[in-house]
């Protein structure tokens, strides 16, 4: 009797424990362990070659890594801000129209329906300096010298940002539109009677109501953009001369191309700090915005 009571809860929990163990805990422990070894994919026996904090020490001195780290922050900052701005604009416009809203909402989501790899290819050909659509278009207007969009060290980063923003602004637009549709009509009307013009209504009423949605969108997108890999890999491969190298393109290169998994894993663990920092920051803001509205 006593043994049965003890056993049945464990039996019932076992499937979840096993699932979580295999999917999360074991890979986590394993990858964390490898970051303390000189594990190379090409030499499996190096898995047991424990090197302590060597990988982390190397990483701290590695300027290329810190450049990629900084570049990722810059990429996040520019992309998130512009996507928020454009997404908000689109959401506000779509919220205004009364006829054809559904169709427009669907059309707006088209970019999200393409795989990022394909988006990367598409923009790679648009930005191609010889045969690209953009340069040919500019040629029509008299710009005869081809602009090296993906080759110039500054333009390349900008081009990737454009592609990223094109593909994902609609996520912001959708989330913010959901927020806009959820705003009660009364406070807005009250504000209009209270003497607000459109801009004042937006600033004083609409925006505070929308802030929780802004922060939810930012949280989701910061994780998404933070792990950007595919679009960069396709468009520039991290080039020219590593000028567009972001954290994950660098980690992937070191981990798989150089087969230096131990070092790559050490980088990953440092990189995660970035995602955690962004998520934490946006969540704090989200809670504050909701408290402001008296929702929490």
């Amino acid at each position: 009797m006593g043994r049965n009571i003890l056993r049945s809860p464990i039996m019932l929990l076992l499937p979840s424990i096993l699932a979580i163990g295999f999917v999360i805990i074991i890979p986590l422990i394993f990858s964390f362990y490898t970051s303390f070894t000189s594990y190379k994919l090409t030499r499996p026996d190096s898995l047991f070659n424990f090197v302590g904090f060597r990988n982390y020490e190397r990483l701290i001195d590695n300027t290329k890594f810190w450049y990629a780290f900084g570049r990722t922050i810059l990429f996040l900052a520019v992309v998130l801000n512009l996507e928020l701005l454009f997404g908000l604009g689109i959401a506000l416009l779509i919220n205004k129209i009364t006829w054809g809203q559904r169709t427009l909402r669907t059309i707006m989501m088209f970019p999200m329906m393409f795989s990022p790899i394909l988006v990367g290819f598409q923009w790679k050909y648009i930005f191609n300096d010889n045969i690209g659509l953009l340069n040919n278009f500019l040629y029509l207007f008299g710009y005869e010298s081809a602009i090296p969009w993906l080759i110039d060290k500054y333009l390349a980063m900008g081009s990737i940002m454009v592609a990223e923003i094109w593909a994902n602004t609609s996520i912001f637009a959708i989330l913010l539109l959901a927020g806009l549709l959820g705003i009660p009509r009364d406070p807005i009307e009250a504000a209009r009677v209270d003497g607000c013009n459109s801009w004042q209504v937006f600033k004083n009423i609409t925006l505070p109501f929308l802030m929780p949605f802004v922060f939810i969108a930012l949280t989701i997108r910061s994780l998404d953009v933070g792990r950007a890999y595919d679009i960069v890999h396709i468009m520039t491969g991290g080039g020219p001369a590593m000028r567009t190298e972001l954290l994950w393109t660098m980690i992937a290169r070191i981990g798989y191309k150089d087969a230096n998994m131990g070092f790559a894993n050490a980088m990953s663990y440092v990189s995660i700090i970035l995602s955690i920092a962004f998520t934490y920051y946006f969540f704090t803001k989200l809670v504050a915005a909701r408290r402001e509205l008296g929702q929490q």
């Binding site: 009660p184 009364d186 406070p187 009307e189 009250a190 209270d194 003497g195 402001e292 509205l293 929702q295």
Partner: protein, 365 residues
């Protein structure tokens, strides 16, 4: 404080007419109540005055100025909404001062006016709270305060008490009345509750399907309803409406209600019934009185019926019986025990009976 004038005001939603050719002058300091069942156009009218709803036709004047094309912000009216419509991210004080801040009123002046409003409405303790930390009644008060601080030309109330419980509603009703006496402002108040309309109004407008059915003081609309709709809408319990046939018998007009009840037509309205065969009688519950008399002949408007239901309310008992399958209510003011099935003698006060035309449903006399 100002006069508000509506001229041929019309609102259409596609083919549906919400308000039709409304003409109305609301004078300075008047407390006007728009009352009617839901969908009668009363809220739409109010929202058109506020500028929140576009006008399909007609004109609105506030303080003798045409405001048709003006934005709500330029009309200098303030509105109290049914759901309070407080700004959830602002404290009570900020809610009250918001309109003044937008109007760039000086800070000291804002503080002074907010302080005054807080005092008038008894919100001192709650100044720093957010709307989510207030009860329904308190929120209602803040919503009213927000309207007061602006010192507008007119106050617009859109069913402000419907979300409160019965007790609080009565209390707030009194407060609104007092507020009006204190502030002496033009108030346009929309409600579907005829008790609110009766207690608050200087003048009541009863609306139905976008039309005005009657305009008058509370006493007028109660004692002289223009038609059956107004008669049954105003007053609680609603006025009893009984169908009757007009029969000519030995130079006399008899109103035949059913086989047992034949009432002699009073002299004063005989002439108006002369060429009619059918009419409706409107009798308020208090005008059908239970009588302790054995004389229940029809001659002095007495009759006998057995009771289907008795609802004792303390000061009165409401007796329910049927005439021609229609439920009739009578008020008994000196309550005694009545059982279902008891035969009771009633007398109708013939001076207080309303007569309505059977076709137009308008008051004949």
């Amino acid at each position: 404080m100002a006069k508000v004038e509506l001229k041929n005001l019309t609102k259409k939603y596609g083919e549906v007419i919400a308000v039709q050719n409304m003409n109305l002058t609301i004078s300075d300091n008047e407390f006007l109540v728009l009352v009617g069942p839901s969908g009668c156009g009363k809220s739409t009218t109010l929202r058109m005055i506020a500028g929140l709803e576009e006008i399909s036709g007609g004109e609105i004047f506030i303080r003798d100025q045409l405001v048709n094309e003006k934005d709500p912000k330029d009309r200098n009216v303030s509105m109290v909404f049914q759901n309070y419509a407080l700004y959830p991210h602002m404290t009570v004080e900020e809610n009250l001062g918001f309109s003044l801040k937008i109007a760039k009123v000086e800070k000291e002046e804002i503080e002074k006016r907010v302080r005054d409003a807080v005092q008038i409405l008894g919100l001192e303790e709650l100044r720093k709270r957010k709307p989510s930390q207030l009860s329904g009644g308190q929120r209602q008060r803040v919503a009213m305060g927000r309207a007061i601080v602006r010192r507008p030309d007119a106050f617009l109330f859109d069913e402000p008490l419907s979300n409160l419980d019965a007790k609080l509603r009565t209390q707030m009703r009194t407060e609104i009345k007092k507020l009006h006496q204190k502030l002496k402002t033009t108030i346009i108040y929309v409600t579907h509750d005829q008790v609110e309309a009766m207690t608050l109004a200087d003048r009541i407008i009863i609306m139905k399907d976008g039309y005005i059915e009657q305009i008058g003081s509370p006493i007028e609309v109660f004692t002289k309803p223009a038609n059956i709709f107004v008669a049954t809408f105003i007053g609680s319990p609603p006025m009893n409406i009984i169908e009757g046939d007009v029969i000519r018998k030995e130079n006399k007009l008899i109103i035949k209600i059913d086989d047992e009840i034949n009432l002699e037509c009073p002299q004063k309205i005989q002439s108006s019934l002369e060429n009619k065969n059918k009419i409706y009688l409107g009798i308020r519950a208090e005008d059908i009185m239970p009588k302790e008399t054995s004389d229940y002949t029809n001659s002095n408007w007495c009759f006998q019926k057995s009771i289907n239901l008795a609802e004792p309310l303390g000061t009165e008992t409401q007796l329910f019986f049927t005439i021609k399958n229609k439920e009739i209510i009578s008020r008994m003011y000196n309550p005694k025990d009545v059982k279902v099935g008891d035969k009771i003698n009633f007398q109708i006060d013939s001076n207080k009976v309303h007569f309505f035309d059977a076709e137009t449903e308008k008051t004949i006399f």
